[in-house]
């Protein structure tokens, strides 16, 4: 993780650490804080606790988002202090709705100049964000709103399993991991487990991101804590609740960053510090998917190349 972040995340970059509640790569966020990156533009639908930590640590200049909160709990106070009172400095914001953000990634991933959606009618969002624009359909009298592509310099996506080449598989909530990765200039895949290529090829429908677009693969078990990885560990709601108090008090936030980020050298230290009891308590019971038959077509006539002369 250290090398991936050092090499691929640069001061001033637009960075997307995606994942909708699920698969949020806290390990990467912490490494970015530890390396004291600066002036980042952070993109996420839901900035969540990870961006509150990063904003509190001073790595960000700007936030691009659609829902700003601590899901199920309350507020992101480090972000709010900067937005409400420019304390300790202002934070620029660029705001959309969820569907707007999704469409921005999609336009970025699909190499389109904009993407249309049915939202924003008779609301104030387009007034405060001039990048959300109305457009008359070229085929009818209808008006839709359009949003511009979002092309992050770096996308960091956490996945359950990946090959050393970066072929990455996800199950559970898919969020915008795939769209963010395809939209980004550089991609860091962080996985719970490194697997053989055979594992991916045995279940290709589950592949979200091909190694083709991946610049670095990092193996980081438990790398989403306190977020979760479906089937591997649950969300640590206790931490999300505790964050409310920590984030509210700038000194407590600074102490937390020192204790859990700056004074540790890696995410492995972080997991060790959490302790085996807390980690084990978050492991769900097993519930396996069924299996499907992809079929082996190597021996069938349709799969074989036609014989010389062809025809039956």
């Amino acid at each position: 993780m250290r090398e991936a972040v050092a090499e691929l995340v640069r001061d001033g970059d637009t960075v997307a650490i995606e994942g909708f509640t699920h698969l949020i790569c806290f390990a990467a966020g912490h490494e970015i804080i530890r390396q004291r990156k600066r002036d980042l533009t952070l993109c996420r639908l839901t900035p969540d606790v990870i961006y509150d930590q990063m904003v509190g640590a001073g790595v960000a200049r700007k936030l691009v988002f659609s829902w700003l909160g601590n899901p199920g709990v309350g507020s992101l106070h480090a972000v709010r202090r900067r937005v409400e009172r420019a304390d300790p400095e202002p934070l620029e914001i660029e705001e959309y709705s969820h569907f707007g953000m999704v469409c921005r990634y999609l336009a970025g991933a699909a190499n389109l100049p904009f993407f249309p959606l049915r939202s924003y009618y008779e609301t104030d969002l387009p007034k405060v964000n001039p990048l959300i624009r109305p457009m008359r359909s070229p085929y009818s009298e209808e008006t839709v709103y359009v949003v511009p592509p979002l092309r992050p310099d770096v996308a960091i996506v956490h996945v359950q399993r990946a090959t050393s080449q970066g072929d990455a598989q996800i199950w559970g909530l898919l969020g915008c991991q795939k769209e963010a990765a395809f939209a980004a200039e550089r991609v860091i895949v962080v996985c719970e487990e490194l697997v053989e290529e055979r594992v991916v090829r045995d279940d290709p429908n589950r592949t979200a991101i091909p190694g083709l677009i991946v610049d670095a693969v990092v193996v980081e078990p438990f790398g989403c804590h306190p977020s979760y990885a479906q089937g591997y560990y649950d969300r640590d709601n206790r931490f999300y609740l505790e964050w409310e108090g920590i984030s509210r008090d700038p000194e407590a936030l600074e102490r937390w960053l020192r204790e859990w980020v700056y004074d540790l050298s890696s995410h492995r230290d972080y997991v060790e510090k959490l302790g085996p009891e807390r980690v084990e308590a978050l492991r769900p019971a097993e519930r396996w998917s069924g299996r499907v038959n992809y079929g082996d077509y190597g021996g069938t006539r349709a799969g074989a190349f036609p014989a010389e002369g062809g025809g039956a």
Binding site: S97, F99, Y121, T123, V128, L173, L174, Q230
Partner: protein, 254 residues
């Protein structure tokens, strides 16, 4: 089981509104417990849709957020967020969208973005999330909100999700699936909207709540239907499900 809190009454009254609904888009917070209660009572066939990309959730515990892993396990479908918003919501498959609000006005317009000025807010709220497109694309919108002068306001500080315009003719011409909220449930009563004026109108008072309470907790002069009903109190079974199954720690019901 005879006693119940105002929040419990609000949740129960809101859940009953979902009777007969087939597909419901579930928002963050209170709507989450309401929809899960409805699924266990008046709407057992209800398909819960979560913006996180889940259709037909069958949660084994009360989801603590709309991205909880329990929503995935045993659900009908997990989709990308694009598919969820585009194919399910925008294409008109959602019967009811259930939203919360920080501020609501008499026409059902909703603010969840800021209190005060946008550029220098007094309070920065979460923002739209999916609420704006839910309000526009769901066939019906229900709102659940605690009623007070600071939430029932004459003028919104910011319009995050559109309701009615005050001109029903204009609203009919808009061509959206949604047409502003049709039901607002608070801890005091149940409100509908007048067909002719588009204005919020008190339809039912919860047990113990008075017209005076409603007037004190509303930032404009609330219209009152001529035949205001009294909301039937929560049944023992509804309270049991809330207290034992959905919210044993009283997060939503305190």
């Amino acid at each position: 089981m005879s006693g119940f809190s105002r929040s419990e009454m609000m949740i129960v009254a809101a859940a009953r509104q979902l009777e007969g609904a087939r597909v419901c888009f579930v928002g963050v917070g209170l709507p989450n417990i309401v929809c899960n209660l409805a699924r266990r009572t008046v709407a057992p066939g209800l398909d819960l849709v979560y913006e996180s990309g889940v259709f037909g959730a069958a949660p084994a515990r009360l989801p603590l957020s709309i991205g909880d892993p329990t929503l995935v396990t045993g659900s009908t479908a997990v989709t990308s967020m694009f598919e969820l918003f585009a194919y399910y919501l925008q294409a008109g498959l959602v019967d009811v969208g259930f939203l919360g609000a920080a501020q609501i006005d008499r026409y059902g317009n909703i603010n969840t973005t800021v209190i005060g000025d946008y550029a220098e807010p007094k309070v920065r709220l979460p923002g739209s999330g999916g609420a704006c497109e839910i309000a526009i694309n769901a066939r019906e919108v229900f709102v659940i909100v605690r009623q007070a002068r600071r939430s029932f306001v004459e003028r919104l500080d910011f319009r995050t999700s559109p309701g009615r315009s005050g001109d029903p003719e204009h609203d009919r011409r808009r061509g959206w699936f949604g047409n502003g909220p049709s039901v607002v449930v608070t801890d005091l009563g149940i409100y509908g909207f007048d067909e002719a004026t588009g204005e919020m109108t008190l339809r039912s008072l919860h047990p113990g709540a008075t017209l005076e309470d409603v007037r004190e907790a509303t930032g404009w002069e609330m219209k009152v239907a001529p035949d205001v009903a009294e909301t039937p109190p929560p049944t023992a079974e509804e309270l049991r499900i809330i207290r034992e199954e959905l919210d044993p720690e009283g997060v939503y019901t305190r």
